[in-house]
């Protein structure tokens, strides 16, 4: 935990609402994106993150950080998601069997706080952007369209007049290169 975080936490414990707002604005988009990927439902994800921040405020005096605020918040969000999965599991209109199992497996994988912290850090995003800009031209173009612009492989293949297979190979190779260059995420 760095000095800035100690100050932020101190201010939060004093009940400083600006610090709380600041944390909310920084972490909400990340935590919400994280939760909606697991729960596959915007309003459930919103509910989960709402509860995380309510708890942060209501229990602010008692918080003890093991690693960082980010890790603390994303761990709370993960736990909240696990609770929701447990509660909703048997509702017929909830997620499909495979999606539930996948979410559970993912939650299991993300037990480690170090990897949780990585998940929402700007540092990781910046490193990825950096690596992408060094990819070979066509691979880079395809990957940017896929991830930064949110196009599907099919849309990209039509746009660039490539086969869908080629597009998918480019995306996959880009992902693999990024993984290699990032090194061990768990470390």
């Amino acid at each position: 935990m760095d000095i800035d975080e100690t100050i932020i936490l101190q201010k939060l414990k004093e009940g400083d609402c600006f610090t709380f707002e600041h944390l909310f604005k920084i972490y909400h988009p990340r935590l919400f994106s994280f939760a909606r990927r697991i729960l596959k439902d915007d309003s459930l994800a919103q509910e989960a993150v709402h509860d995380v921040f309510m708890r942060l405020w209501n229990r602010k005096e008692k918080i003890i950080l093991r690693s960082s605020l980010g890790a603390y918040l994303v761990a709370s969000t993960r736990n909240q998601c696990i609770n929701i999965l447990r509660m909703k599991k048997n509702e017929p209109k909830f997620m499909s069997e495979a999606d539930i199992q996948m979410a559970e497996l993912e939650m299991e994988y993300f037990q480690d706080e170090a990897i949780l912290d990585q998940l929402i850090s700007d540092d990781l995003r910046e490193r990825i952007t950096g690596i992408v800009s060094e990819l070979p031209d066509q691979q880079q173009q395809v990957f940017r369209l896929s991830r930064f612009e949110g196009l599907s492989s099919k849309e990209i293949s039509e746009k660039l007049n490539l086969s869908q297979r080629t597009v998918e190979t480019h995306i996959y190779l880009a992902l693999k290169t990024i993984r290699e260059k990032l090194g061990n995420l768990k470390g």
């Binding site: 760095d2 800035d4 100050i7 932020i8 004093e14 009940g15 400083d16 609402c17 600006f18 610090t19 707002e21 600041h22 909310f24 604005k25 920084i26 909400h28 988009p29 919400f32 994106s33 994280f34 990927r37 915007d42 919103q46 709402h50 921040f53 309510m54 405020w57 499909s96 069997e97 495979a98 999606d99 199992q101 996948m102 497996l105 993912e106 994988y109 990897i115 998940l119 990781l124 995003r125 990825i128 952007t129 800009s133 990957f143 991830r147 930064f148 612009e149 949110g150 599907s152 492989s153 297979r165 998918e168 190979t169 995306i171 996959y172 992902l175 990024i178 993984r179 990032l182 995420l185």
Partner: protein, 361 residues
């Protein structure tokens, strides 16, 4: 690509069917290496997409909700802190606010806190119905329109670039300093400047982000695409760039200078949607200007300008277009009366709520 790799990618793209998903799950459970591969690629996949507008809109929505439920807690701390932020503000920022006057009603909150890895930041929030003006420590001058937030570092000395964050509408006169570019971030866009005057309108509720250049040169980049030359546009004086949040396109149009719009015939104006530069920047001289704007657009402007909330009961009224200029000392009643001169409407005002409807005989 191996079969399993194709499956992983399809899963990420959301095109994998239930049966293949179950097969994929099985492999992930049994094969440690594949499990590691799958989740690490998933982290990269998830962290390489920019936060979309939908996500950011949710943050705003959720903040409204949580700050509402914690309102009484917040008020307590605000009482305790009333003096401190101002002291910090004056000490570090060398900023002053013009606004003890009558029309510049004052800024609601100014605050300083140290956050993240960055140095102390200040934030100015201008409420509905108010306007303000600040001069930053580098000499740049910024006019802030109603319902606007500006966040900026207390000092620029330690930074390579000058960075400010804007929500709402502001007019910038940036002090020249070629070694330290000035950047305005709006969430969707980043505007890079060397020394210049321009207007930015980027309210979170609006579908469009409008940048109008009066003097100098600016470069506009879409957020999440820094330095990618295909994602930026350069604006020349008297041009306006309109960014559409939904399809993320930027359209540039040339603006008319004040004189030629006055020469235009009334009939031309009905179809001409291009605004002149004066209509865009006049707010900073306390002039409310409608340049052939629909009632729908005018309602939004009036709500911000006067801090009233306005309901139009008959939607067919919304398409009527109006031209007009009002000084700030003119009240909302005078504006509504002017609209009533040309359109048969009836309005009522109570408790800062205006209701407009068709005049019924």
């Amino acid at each position: 690509m191996r079969d399993i790799e194709k499956k992983i990618l399809d899963y990420f793209e959301g095109t994998l069917d239930e049966r293949s998903k179950l097969e994929l799950l099985q492999v992930i459970r049994e094969d440690d290496q594949i499990r590691e591969l799958f989740f690490q690629l998933k982290i990269i996949w998830n962290n390489s997409e920019p936060f979309t507008d939908t996500v950011l809109a949710k943050t705003g929505e959720s903040w409204d909700r949580i700050s509402h439920s914690l309102k009484s807690d917040f008020e307590q701390t605000l009482k305790k802190q009333k003096i401190r932020p101002w002291m910090n503000f004056l000490k570090y920022a060398a900023v002053f606010i013009i606004g003890a006057g009558i029309t510049f009603a004052s800024v609601s909150l100014v605050r300083t806190f140290s956050a993240g890895k960055s140095a102390a930041e200040n934030e100015i929030i201008v409420q509905k119905g108010q306007k303000s003006e600040v001069i930053l420590s580098d000499g740049s001058r910024i006019w802030l329109n109603s319902e606007t937030r500006l966040r900026y570092p207390a000092r620029f000395e330690l930074m390579n670039e000058r960075e400010v964050y804007l929500e709402g509408e502001a007019y910038f006169e940036v002090a020249k300093n070629e070694s330290k570019p000035f950047n305005v971030s709006t969430g969707n866009l980043r505007i890079r400047v060397l020394g210049t005057s321009f207007n930015v309108k980027c309210y979170p509720d609006d579908k469009l982000v409008e940048t109008t250049l009066i003097e100098g040169k600016v470069c506009i980049q879409k957020a999440g695409h820094s330095n990618a030359s295909c994602n930026q546009v350069i604006l020349e004086p008297n041009q306006k760039a309109v960014f559409n949040k939904s399809d993320r396109t930027i359209i540039i149009s040339d603006l008319k200078v004040k004189t030629d719009i006055d020469k235009k015939k009334e009939s031309d104006l009905k179809t001409d949607l291009t605004r002149n530069t004066e209509s865009i920047t006049s707010w900073k001289e306390q002039i409310l200007y409608f340049d052939n704007e629909s009632l729908e657009e005018i309602v939004v402007k009036l709500e911000r300008w006067y801090g009233y909330s306005i309901t139009v009961k008959d939607p067919e009224l919304l398409v009527h277009r109006y031209k007009g200029k009002f000084e700030n000392y003119e009240t909302i009643y005078q504006v509504l009366d002017a609209i009533r001169l040309t359109t048969p409407i009836h309005y009522t005002v109570s408790n800062k709520i205006v209701t407009i409807e068709k005049l019924r005989k």
